[in-house]
Amino acid sequence: MTFLSPLIFVGIFTLVAYLSDLNSEEVKTISVLDESGLFTNDFQDTDNLKYNIVKGEPLSEAKLKAETDENYGLLYIPRTATMEDLANSITFYSEDSPSLTTMGDIENVVEDKVNTIRLKEAGIDAETIKSLRINVNTNLETYKGMETSKLGSGLKLGFGAAAGYLLFMFIIIYGNMIMRSVIEEKTSRIIEVIISSVKPMKLLLGKIFGTTLAGITQFAVWIILILTLLAIVPVVLGVDTSAMEAQQEAMAQTASGAGAQDIFQQVMMEVDNLPLANLIIMFVLFFIGGYLLYASLYASIGAAVDSETDTQQFMLPILMPLMLSVYVGFFTVIDNPHGIVSQIFSFIPFTSPVVMLMRIPFGVPIWQQILSVVILFATFMGTVWFAAKIYRVGILMYGKKATYKEIFKWLKY
């Protein structure tokens, strides 16, 4: 699995790239029946939209023709008294509901035209407005004088989201691994042999740390392999990823308003601006702390049950805070990294690893970071104590259906 997973990942990525290529190559033909006579040559063919202007036919005939020609749709623009009426009486006929992007494109064309006409009617020259229009590009700067930019914000978001999501995945995959390994020792009944040689606490910690190290190794192999394969595969298979690159460039351009050649430099500069040392140290700390916290809980679940099928009822309390942290991270933090909700969740130990990791790139005071780490590790001590109690009793309980009540009793043994 260690070596297969990256292959599968890259395979899927390539497939998606290939399919979206196919998808965008499809050209849609749209018939336009313009009775208003306003749109002379406003509908320009694009890469995937081809306009077929129909003139002088009644609507019913045009509809029939569009259908038999298997056109994507028919755009009907009636003659109306005023522009307001026109804006609300344009109809698009099609086989199925049309795609949102196509409709967006068409509406943009119509809107532009109608607005231009209305401006003209009001005695304002559209060209003048265009020439007077100015692009606002806000310069972002912190109080301390550090220049930031939207590109920088995007990068921060990327860093934070990647770190948070990586941790989330890691916890789910390797937490489960620990749980399964505990269950395996229980069902194979070797546990009592082992436990007469090793203290349960030692075994539990060894299991957690061992799996962590194995997991980190596996993750590192994955990331290296995926990056390598992603670099090689497009070249070998000749899959065109330029569409994506173009998209990225376009995004970068709008963000910075600069040419493509500067982008690399700009990105590097922004990366430089990120609190990299802080980010890396905190990533390691939160990653380890967050993982250990959840791993100990996973281990105690493994000890409490007899088989993997029984784990369901205990999984919810673990998955809930984990999901919550990802939701908070991806919605609240992105919206406002230093809002009160983001702050609270970055201190709660069960959500702090993901949430805080996503906040740090945006600049979090050191005291907050340290406090959060301390809370996290203190809670880890607590959960390990809790897990050890359950583990010690649970591993020697065979065939007893564990309930919350039962487990609560074990804590007192």
Binding site: R189, E192, V193, S196, S197, P200, K409, Y413
Partner: protein, 308 residues
């Protein structure tokens, strides 16, 4: 006598359930000590306390005169009743791993492992996975795991379960040899014939209380109840029967015999010696069979448990 293991007033309860209630035991060095009791009596809890898997609520356990400490696991070998091995791990690797957990070095473990594998004739299993072995084969591996670090105290919980008669007797001989080599063995089983055959000492635990302990032979002496099994060839069976019934407490008995005779278990009052009984019987007829009925471990077990 030197005791290898002494338990002083050991108690342990789980919630409201008292698994062990003030149990004190002494296990003499170099003996096979039978730890008996009905299901759920607290034997396993006691064994787990010796292995420091469970901590007692109160009381102390001394190994060789010193309170148990974590390092003592090296001197104890434990074959639990609920036993198993990693199913997908190879036999050799697995035993080496488990031996190293007990503090052996890898080379030392390998050397001893070779000795045991040759001895039990399982050398060619080294590269097999446990799941490829039969239950009996896995049990043999488990036995090797238990004894490999040459512990001075061995605890076997139902060691013969899963073995065919040939292997059971092989393991029995190995256990006896281990005792002769100086190890002490605590032996927990429900098979009373093994107790009879192997144990020097026994202790009986019932509902968390120790109800009986001591040398097996002493206990048997204590439980003897002046009962003799006799065969008597007489002229007039009925008359003699009647007379004996008035004089003694008679129990029916059947044993194999080539004679046509009266067969009885006779319980004589305290103070009557076997000689007195023999003298009386020989006056009545030809004595063909005379044996003192010695209570079996099985009888003692059942009687003690019933009375408590």
């Amino acid at each position: 006598m030197d005791n290898i293991l002494v338990a002083n007033h050991v108690s342990k309860s789980f919630g409201k359930h008292a698994a062990l209630n003030d149990v004190s035991l002494e296990v003499p060095k170099g003996t096979i000590f039978g730890l008996l009791g009905p299901n759920g009596a607290g034997k396993t809890t006691f064994i787990r306390i010796i292995n420091q898997i469970t901590m007692p609520d109160s009381g102390t356990v001394l190994l060789d005169g010193n309170p148990l400490k974590p390092d003592d696991i090296r001197h104890i070998g434990y074959l639990p009743e609920e036993r198993g091995l990693y199913k997908t791990m190879k036999v050799g690797e697995q035993v080496l791993y488990l031996a190293q957990l007990k503090g052996l070095t890898k080379t030392e473990a390998k050397k001893r492992l070779k000795y045991w594998f040759d001895r039990l004739d399982i050398g060619d299993w080294w590269d097999k996975k446990i799941q490829e072995l039969s239950k009996g084969m896995a049990q043999k591996i488990q036995f090797v795991v238990t004894v490999l670090h040459e512990p001075k105290l061995l605890i076997f919980d139902e060691p013969f379960s899963g073995f065919d008669p040939i292997n059971a007797s092989l393991i029995k001989d190995e256990i006896l040899k281990l005792r002769d080599d100086g190890a002490t063995i605590i032996f927990s089983t429900h098979r009373m014939e093994s107790v009879e055959e192997m144990c020097d000492h026994i202790a009986l635990i019932h509902k968390g209380n120790k109800v009986l302990d001591g040398k097996l032979i002493d206990i048997k002496r204590q439980y003897r109840n002046n009962l003799y099994e006799v065969g008597l060839t007489v002229q007039n069976k009925e008359a003699v029967s009647m007379e004996m019934k008035e004089k003694f407490e008679l129990l029916p008995a059947t044993f194999k015999s080539i004679n046509d005779e009266l067969q009885y278990k006779i319980k004589v009052p305290d103070g009557t010696s076997p000689n007195d009984l023999v003298t009386y019987l020989t006056q009545k007829g030809q004595l063909t069979h005379f044996v003192e009925v010695i209570p079996s471990a099985n009888d003692i077990f059942i009687e003690t448990v019933r009375n408590n």
